[in-house]
Amino acid sequence: MLIFLVRRLGTMVLTMLVVSLLLFLLLEINVASVAIKVLGPYSSDEQRQLWLEANGYLEPFYVRYFTWLGNFIVGDFGSSIRFKVPVGDILWPRLGSTGILGLATMMVVVPLSLGLGVLAGMKEGSKLDRTISVGSIVTTSVPEFASAVLLSAVFVFYLDLLPGTSSMTDGFSLVQLSLPVMVLVLYDFGYVTRMTRASMSEVMMTHYIRTAVLKGLPYKTVIMRHALRNALIAPFTVIMLQINWLLSGVIVVEFFFAYKGFGALLLEASLNQDIFLIEACAMVAVFVAVATQTLADVGYTYLNPRIRFA
């Protein structure tokens, strides 16, 4: 188990290193264009040259990479070109806002989709199952931007119940949070539901469930004790990986509702070629993704006695 943990963490670090190298290659290999991006298209050649020299850009590539990496690890991400402040100063608060959004979404998605998935998978082919399955297909077919449009049309335009933007300029507001969360939930829950259903229905067909029934256990015990324990191992992984997906969805939703979060920041940085901000945002996003993946793997092994006591 310990070896496994160490190995898994090693892979995680290695992945992060490769990603950082890729990013660095993509964004900073061409020194001249870095200068243009930083100083703007109207800067003169001398200005650019001076800036490059001052910032160590004339060093060989690997030296620059390691310096950059070193700075990065201690939390010095450089300065945002667009906002003219250190990247960290805007990044962390934004990440916090997105964390709230993500957390709220997960708090709805997890119980909802596990519940529905288990209900559907308990009796494969039943009416309830068909309804839930088709329902979840329909909701996953509606992209976030489309459901954002449709939901705002309903709740903002026709019903006038909720605000159409969620910029939260006057501090945190639950009302403003509700539409973005709804959109994210609508898109995400279908997938987890279907995975849970698949896992559950597979478990329900196993021989050990038959054994449990023919032992004379009450149906409730069969489900709660024998089926759920095995059926929820796979969805656990799916949920962890879903966090990766959520990061994508968050970009669209934040953009649409003008929510001041991490996704909107990343998009803004990309559109404005704000390279240091892009680098930081991308690394954070990948870190979150890789960390959840690692957690998913570790959790999976922990939940599965066949691996745990191998």
């Binding site: 088709v134 996953t140 077919s141 509606v142 449009v149 990766n244």
Partner: protein, 294 residues
């Protein structure tokens, strides 16, 4: 030559066999609905020039409401946008871009992902370790982050979108193929092929791949649906196909500022894109259901 052998029924052509296999989808209601939606949009795309009431980019009558009749022009069934272009015509023409680029991009991703998955699953060892690691690195990016970075760096164009989709989806396909191959490679017919000294690529392509096609077809349907969403999202974020040609995501992006006052401009493209994606997802579900039956 084949009919020279006496007493044998004539050989069925491969195409007919596949069509017969596909015809099984009739047994799934859900699958048929999905197929219907897809066919509907394919017909729209093919016949857009004939069916569309107006030219897609013509400025006609700004801010018409759905169903509004304008003297001398006709009825704008779905209304017009802020530039006075007919939304119905734009949706019809816009289906072309989606229906060309989404399957094309998916196809490219398969062309890259399948051989890598075959190699990793069949050879295992180092090949697998390296390919899997590369796939994991790419997959560790949240998809949209990857798209945004790629498109923002190489620029928004149809070709670049295909490249970005290939790059981002191939690792997922790689994983699926690899998993299927790991399962299939231990079958005795593969063993038999090995004992007669077949080359590894022949074993992968002729002995293994055909038996993996069922799950791959289902996956392809889902993936096309997802690529449609991706293209839509990119358009919506302003990273899609360059204007003025109609593109569903772009239409939503252009008009979303006015969505609060004129919801029809954004809602109809949203419905279009969702229905097409739904078509592919339902078809995939139907295919899976049918393929599990025997």
């Amino acid at each position: 030559m084949t009919d020279a052998v006496a007493g044998l029924p004539p050989r069925e052509s491969k195409v007919i066999k596949y069509l017969k296999g596909m015809a099984l989808i009739r047994e799934s209601v859900v699958g048929m609905i999905g197929l219907g939606l897809i066919v509907f949009w394919v017909v729209m795309a093919l016949l857009a020039d004939l069916l569309a009431p107006f030219p897609p980019n013509a400025t006609l009558y700004p801010l018409a409401m759905p169903g509004q009749f304008v003297e001398g022009m006709g009825t704008f069934w779905l209304g017009t946008d802020h530039l006075g272009r007919d939304i119905l015509s734009r949706i019809m023409h816009g289906s072309r871009a989606v229906l060309i680029f989404a399957p094309l991009a998916t196809f490219c991703a398969y062309v890259v992902g399948i051989p890598m998955g075959l190699a990793a699953g069949y050879r295992r060892g180092m090949t697998d370790a390296v390919l899997s690691f590369v796939a994991n690195v790419i997959l560790s990016f949240p998809v949209l982050v990857l798209y945004i970075i790629i498109i923002a760096t190489i620029g928004a164009s149809a070709v670049n979108i295909v490249i970005a989709v290939t790059f981002a989806s191939a690792p997922g396909i790689f994983r699926i193929v690899r998993g299927l191959v790991l399962d299939l490679r231990s079958r005795e017919y593969v063993f038999a092929a090995e004992t007669r000294g077949e080359s590894p690529w022949r074993i992968m392509l002729v002995e293994i791949l055909p038996n993996a096609r069922g799950p791959l077809i289902v996956d392809a349907c889902l993936r096309v649906g997802y690529v449609i969403i991706t293209i839509g999202v990119l358009g919506f974020l302003g990273l899609g196909l360059p204007p003025p040609d109609p593109d569903w995501g772009g239409m939503i992006n252009e008009t979303r500022q006015m969505a609060m006052s004129f919801p029809h401009m954004t809602i109809f493209p949203c419905i279009a894109i969702s229905s097409l994606v739904l078509g592919f997802n339902l078809l995939a579900d139907g295919l899976r259901e049918v393929s599990l039956r025997d």
